[in-house]
């Protein structure tokens, strides 16, 4: 624990030193910048100290080839929920079976919402729905490299109306299959 904190602190000091060093190097020759002066104000250095620096993978889409037709049924969701309901598990199992039977295929899980709620929040909710299905598929052994998620939020309704009968059709995760 102590060692870990010590390492963290050392890392932080190193970051500060590097930032300071690069700031000094840049300063003399710096062209006028729209971002203001080249000297770093102290608050810029605080960020890495209080929040963890992370690395994330860029999306690997190159191996997602041509889209193929499939008859996989969408998974439906309750209002404002991203939980994979018991009644929907069989549909997710069908996707897993399809991917197991067709080794060359991959899936994009597309999360969708009904129009209620604000569009920006629904973008996040649609992603949570897609991720819930993805988590299930990973759990039953589908490799990570075969699944991408995509949220359309409320932008791609399956039913265009404004009644619960429409909304219930729109709270869904579709499965787009790729070669």
């Amino acid at each position: 624990m102590m060692l870990k904190q010590g390492l963290k602190l050392t890392g932080l000091l190193l970051v500060i030193a590097l930032v300071a060093a690069s700031g000094c190097r840049k300063k003399p020759g710096a062209a006028s910048s729209n971002l203001g002066p080249e000297v770093m104000p102290p608050e810029d250095i605080n960020t890495p100290s209080s929040f963890e620096e992370t690395k994330l993978d860029d999306r690997e889409t190159t191996e997602f080839g041509k889209r193929v037709a499939s008859t996989l049924e969408p998974v439906m969701f309750k209002f404002d929920s991203a939980k994979l309901a018991d009644s929907e598990v069989a549909k997710a199992d069908a996707v897993a079976a399809f991917l197991n039977d067709n080794a060359a295929y991959k899936v994009v899980v597309e999360g969708n919402c009904d129009e209620r709620g604000t569009a920006e929040y629904n973008m996040a909710l649609g992603e949570r729905r897609a991720q819930a299905v993805r988590a299930y598929l990973l759990n039953v052994g589908i490799p990570e490299s075969k699944i991408q998620t995509l949220s359309y939020g409320e932008e791609k309704p399956a039913a265009p109306g404004h009644a619960e009968s429409d909304w219930s059709k729109n709270r869904r995760a579709d499965f787009a299959i790729y070669e």
Partner: protein, 393 residues
């Protein structure tokens, strides 16, 4: 006044603070202006004068009245794009011009100067708005002036383009686009007309918000398996990522920075419904913004420190404004329509937002000081996700 509606559910402590804060609001400004002594001939002059009158009315500070008003505006417009303006009663005298030859931009400069000189208000007219419109059949981004004129389409990829955000220098717009099938973040440099990919991690890349000094961007990414907030520094592809939230069972999105850049307000549904939270960049626990309502979303931290947001109240989405200093809460839209996505004008008084009536969206400009709301555009189509730029030279 529409600025009423203190929320009854608010804690008693806030009630007192609110009552005091409301008294200090300048209710009816209404400085009378007389423009009869302003010469503006020819087509350019007419455009100048029409634009100026429209701005003055939209500002909420003035009424343009006949002779005998306390502020006679005199001077002349000269083609192609300059004007000499005098306000005898205040001793104000200045010339204005626009290098690109647009009489409308001269009018915006004059209107901003009069807001400052006579009303002691903050300028807002020398600015632009970027928003999404679907008149081509897909959601593309458009740019217009502060009065809705000069509308131009700036994306054309037939995908979905949403949630534009301005860099603080007003030169770059960051936005979410599905042009490569997935929701990714892009930047468009408006002076060089250059499009760059900003973030394309696995999953969702959206809701970019530049920090006030422009060196960082808060954004929503789901590559960890769930939508979380991050900071990207510098705000370019390959910049360093710092993770702000870790809630595997909840979504975070919609970040907006405090004017000093020290705090972020954002949406999280970890409590079971989407609510607003504050996070300090110096770390520590998040705190929930003490506002009622079963959903509170799309926060926008304004230049004077007030936070506008969308709040679901009595079955409708409304635009509310919360002041962290006083605890004052104002409901700006009690008319039964749904509103969302507020964005502050640079004057810290007006707010652009989306108004939904009968399945159609339009951008409206709201006045936090109680004057009626105004539609921004006269053009057909559905419009949403407006972002008001900072002041431009």
């Amino acid at each position: 006044m529409k600025t009423h509606a203190l929320c009854a559910a608010l804690a008693g402590a806030f009630l007192l603070a609110s009552a005091q804060a409301q008294i200090t609001v300048k209710k009816e400004a209404g400085f009378g202006l007389d423009l009869a002594g302003l010469r503006a001939d020819g087509p350019g002059g007419q455009t100048f004068k029409r634009t100026l009158e429209n701005d003055l009315a939209r500002s909420g500070w003035f009424t343009v009245v006949a002779e005998g008003s306390s502020y006679p505006i005199t001077g002349a417009f000269s083609p192609p794009a300059s004007a000499q303006i005098e306000v005898k009663t205040t001793g104000f005298r200045r010339s204005f011009s626009d290098a690109s030859g647009d009489p409308r931009w001269v009018a915006h400069q004059v209107a901003d100067a009069l807001v400052k000189q006579i009303a002691d208000g903050k300028p807002l007219f020398c600015s632009k708005l970027v928003m999404a419109g679907n008149r081509t059949g897909s959601w593309e981004l458009y740019l217009c002036d502060s009065d809705g004129e000069n509308l131009k389409q700036i994306t054309k990829d037939r995908s979905i383009n949403l949630y534009p955000a301005w860099s603080p220098d007003g030169k770059t717009v960051a936005f979410t686009s599905y042009r490569r099938r997935y929701p990714d973040l892009y930047t468009l440099d408006l002076s060089r007309w250059e499009l760059n990919l900003l973030a394309a991690y696995n999953g969702l890349n959206t809701s970019g918000a530049y920090s006030p000094n422009g060196r960082e961007m808060a954004l929503t990414l789901s590559a960890s398996g769930n939508p979380e907030l991050y900071i990207l520094r510098p705000p370019v592809k390959g910049g360093r990522l710092f993770r702000l939230t870790q809630t595997p069972a909840a979504a975070e999105t919609g970040a907006s920075w405090s004017p000093d850049g020290n705090r972020i307000v954002y949406v999280s549904d970890s409590s079971g419904s989407p609510q607003l939270y504050l996070l300090s960049r110096s770390g520590g626990e998040r705190t929930r913004l003490p506002v009622s309502g079963n959903e509170n979303v799309s926060p926008a931290w304004g230049p004077d420190g007030r936070i506008a947001f969308t709040s679901r109240r009595a079955g409708r989405y409304r635009i509310c404004v919360y002041s962290p200093d006083s605890g004052d809460l104002t409901d700006l839209t009690g008319d039964g329509d749904n509103y969302e996505d507020p964005s502050w004008a640079p004057d810290g008084r007006h707010i652009a937002c989306t108004r939904t009536t009968g399945g159609k969206n339009a951008i409206y400009v709201l006045d936090t000081m109680g004057k009626p709301s105004i539609p921004l555009l006269k053009v057909e189509g559905s419009w949403r996700s407006a972002a008001w730029s900072p002041l431009m030279p």
